[in-house]
């Protein structure tokens, strides 16, 4: 019989190998899924993972990689701090939307202006909006002991309703002939978040994502706060003896992750999305949860995981247009990845033993 034996300490090898094995297993299972949908699995996998990087249109699609990876990485970095401390913010999607609305509101309030200072002001407003939305579950948790998972998730639905109100009402383009959606930031240069180097997809949000990776790395490796976050997650009791205030941890982690998601939102709405519309959010806040786990809650890992997940988005769109693969297949594929990741992760903490009779 097969039994699990707990390892004295997590295996470093398996900790690093888990994401790779999980991706490989997902490709296999995904291939089966694509075959069931009547597509050639090898061709589908190649279209998703290979063509965007090395195929015919790679010159364009490679740029899209950073556009998609930027927000994913930025949000996932924020989430990873909370996840490490055992604080489950799963409402990043809502914080992302609120960041976008706050940021866009500031920009649109002073329309039109040429003053380039408006852009930093919008960014700050966006971070504030996300932070504010993250503070609601944080305050309710510290003050009333409310479950942050449920509250942050409920607030996603509330944010979506506010977004539709914004797109149809208070932020609607007055010159838009009654169509829903705000003014387009691409024709509002002072407030726009343009591509910095043509063809690379690099915009300020991507820059911010890289900065976040570096900051998170330093925080977790070199700073007492990072140590406290890790301690709070791994040994809550020890953390209390160490003097870590759990309330402060909650406010801090939800605040940081909210602000990161808000930043991602405002960069997205002023850049790639271009305007506040009813459905400008495409679920980055939820996919970022997968990115954070796939990156093993490690900043560098998240950077790689974000790029990989961006690849599945782009490749998925390619497969959708070229092979007629339903867009939902990619969503299922991404969910599957998280499953396999969690399944393979058993190897990090446990050894698999073949149980033999007579062994003590």
């Amino acid at each position: 019989m097969v039994t699990l034996e707990k390892r004295p300490s997590p295996s470093r090898f398996w900790s690093a190998a888990t994401p790779v094995v999980a991706v490989a297993l997902t490709m296999l299972a995904g291939g089966v899924m694509f075959a069931l949908l009547g597509k050639n699995p090898a061709e589908a996998i190649r279209t998703i993972f290979w063509d965007p990087l090395f195929g015919e249109f790679a010159w364009y699609l490679r740029g899209q990689l950073l556009v998609k990876a930027g927000p994913l990485i930025l949000i996932a970095i924020g989430l990873s701090l909370g996840f490490r401390a055992g604080i489950w913010n799963i409402g990043a999607e809502g914080q992302y939307i609120m960041g976008a609305i706050f940021g866009a509101s500031v920009g649109l309030a002073v329309f039109p202006t040429d003053n380039r200072l408006i852009f930093p002001a919008m960014i700050i407003a966006g971070a504030f909006g996300g932070w504010l939305w993250g503070m609601i579950p944080a305050i309710l948790k510290t003050r009333f002991n409310t479950n942050e998972i449920l509250v942050s998730l409920m607030l996603v639905y509330v944010a979506e309703k506010i977004l539709s109100k914004a797109a149809l009402g208070f932020l609607r383009n007055p010159e838009g002939a009654g169509f829903p959606g705000s003014r387009n930031f691409n024709s509002y240069p002072a407030a726009a978040n343009p591509e910095l180097i043509a063809g690379t997809g690099m915009h300020w949000g991507v820059v911010m994502a890289f900065i976040a990776v570096i900051f998170a790395y330093i925080l977790l490796q070199r700073h007492i706060l990072g140590f406290q976050i890790k301690l709070a997650g791994q040994a809550p009791r020890a953390a209390r003896f160490h003097g870590v205030n759990p309330q402060r941890m909650v406010v801090l982690c939800l605040g940081i992750s909210g602000a990161c998601a808000g930043l991602a939102g405002v960069f997205e709405v002023t850049g790639p999305a271009g305007q506040i519309s009813i459905d400008f959010n495409v679920g980055y806040g939820f996919t970022a949860i997968i990115v954070a786990f796939l990156g093993r809650l490690n900043p560098v890992g998240i950077l790689l995981a974000g790029l990989l997940m961006a690849l599945t988005y782009i490749g998925g769109e390619m497969a959708s247009t070229n092979l007629g693969l339903p867009a939902a297949a990619i969503q299922a594929f991404q969910g599957m990845l998280l499953f396999f990741l969690l399944a393979v992760d058993v190897m990090t903490n446990y050894r698999i033993r073949l149980f033999t009779k007579g062994a003590a």
């Binding site: 699990l4 309710l140 449920l150 409920m154 939902a328 299922a332 399944a343």
Partner: protein, 311 residues
């Protein structure tokens, strides 16, 4: 009786009983799961899988009853994946539950391709004969389909099993202290597996009620957070079955009322009305989690912890 903005109170009560069926079923299932010490956050995913599986079964067989069974099977199969990951591979329950929801949303939308805009076979109201002609009460109590009564009966059954039977005692023992239950010789993993399957089947059935009766058609993301509200209702109910019924009817009432207010052209903007169920969920969580009546005190002691029998 007083009529407010064209809303007849008897009709309102009758329709809130229908509206709350999906969350009632999902919540009572999750209550059993949590009583066994497992936190399955994948209710939303299991519900939506139940919604699509039930819909496909009902459309292809023409039988709503088989549709509900199909929905229950869909939810149970997904919950089996959760059980395997958390009970065999000892994965983190919070993360696995999230994975279940993300995967379920994707897979359901994939399976639902080509089912948009189709009407499912009608689930008819039971025939109570002259009883349903009683003024007010007839409308409220004797005008529904069988699932409405089944949802109440299941809550009663769960209550009775948990309170009066040996099975219920074992389930609670496993949830309160899995090490002690293990030492007594109970199969912690098996008990939890069965509880998870039960929760999955009920969540799936609740989802099927959405796509077969409540809406009734298939649209992507049909559950719209109902699974999460069901999770909140378990907290609201402080893990007590009858309070699930109160919680479910409360939320059903709010969603029906806000829809009615939207329909009769209330001055409150539609967006604010439609966010009210979520805001009220938060409010209720705050009230139940704080102060002397702290719901958390009632939570099963082993909730959310993995069990690994080292001896």
């Amino acid at each position: 009786m007083m009529e407010f903005c064209g809303i007849n109170p008897a009709v309102l009560v009758a329709s809130l009983m229908v509206a709350s069926v999906p969350i009632l079923l999902a919540a009572i299932g999750e209550l059993v799961v949590e009583k066994s010490g497992v936190l399955n956050l994948g209710v939303e995913g299991m519900m939506i899988m139940g919604a699509i599986c039930g819909f496909i079964t009902a459309v292809s067989t023409g039988s709503p009853l088989l549709g509900f069974l199909g929905g229950a099977a869909g939810g149970a199969v997904l919950s089996l994946m959760f059980a395997f990951l958390t009970q065999v591979l000892l994965a983190n329950q919070v993360a696995t539950g999230l994975a279940l929801t993300l995967f379920g949303l994707g897979l359901s939308s994939l399976m639902g391709q080509g089912y948009n805009g189709i009407k499912p076979p009608l689930t008819e109201a039971l025939n109570f004969g002259p009883l349903s002609d009683i003024p007010v009460l007839g409308r409220i109590l004797f005008s529904h389909d069988w699932v409405v009564y089944a949802s109440v009966a299941i809550i009663a059954a769960v209550w009775a099993v948990l309170k009066y039977t040996r099975t219920g005692l074992i389930l609670r023992a496993v949830g309160e202290n899995h090490d002690a239950a293990h030492a007594l010789g109970y199969k912690v993993g098996l008990v939890r597996l069965l509880a998870i399957l039960f929760g999955g089947a009920l969540a799936g059935m609740g989802g099927a009620y959405l796509s077969l009766v409540r809406v009734p058609q298939w649209t992507d993301g049909i559950t719209a957070g109902a699974g999460w509200i069901a999770l909140a209702i378990v907290v609201f109910a402080s893990w007590k079955p009858w309070r699930v019924l109160i919680g479910g009817y409360l939320f059903g009432g709010i969603s029906v009322l806000q829809l009615n207010l939207q329909a009769c052209g209330s001055r409150i903007p539609v967006e604010y009305l439609s966010m009210s169920p979520y805001l009220i969920t938060i409010l209720v969580l705050v009230i139940m989690s704080s102060g002397r009546g702290r719901a958390a005190l009632n939570a099963p002691a082993s909730l959310g912890q993995s069990f690994h029998a080292s001896r």
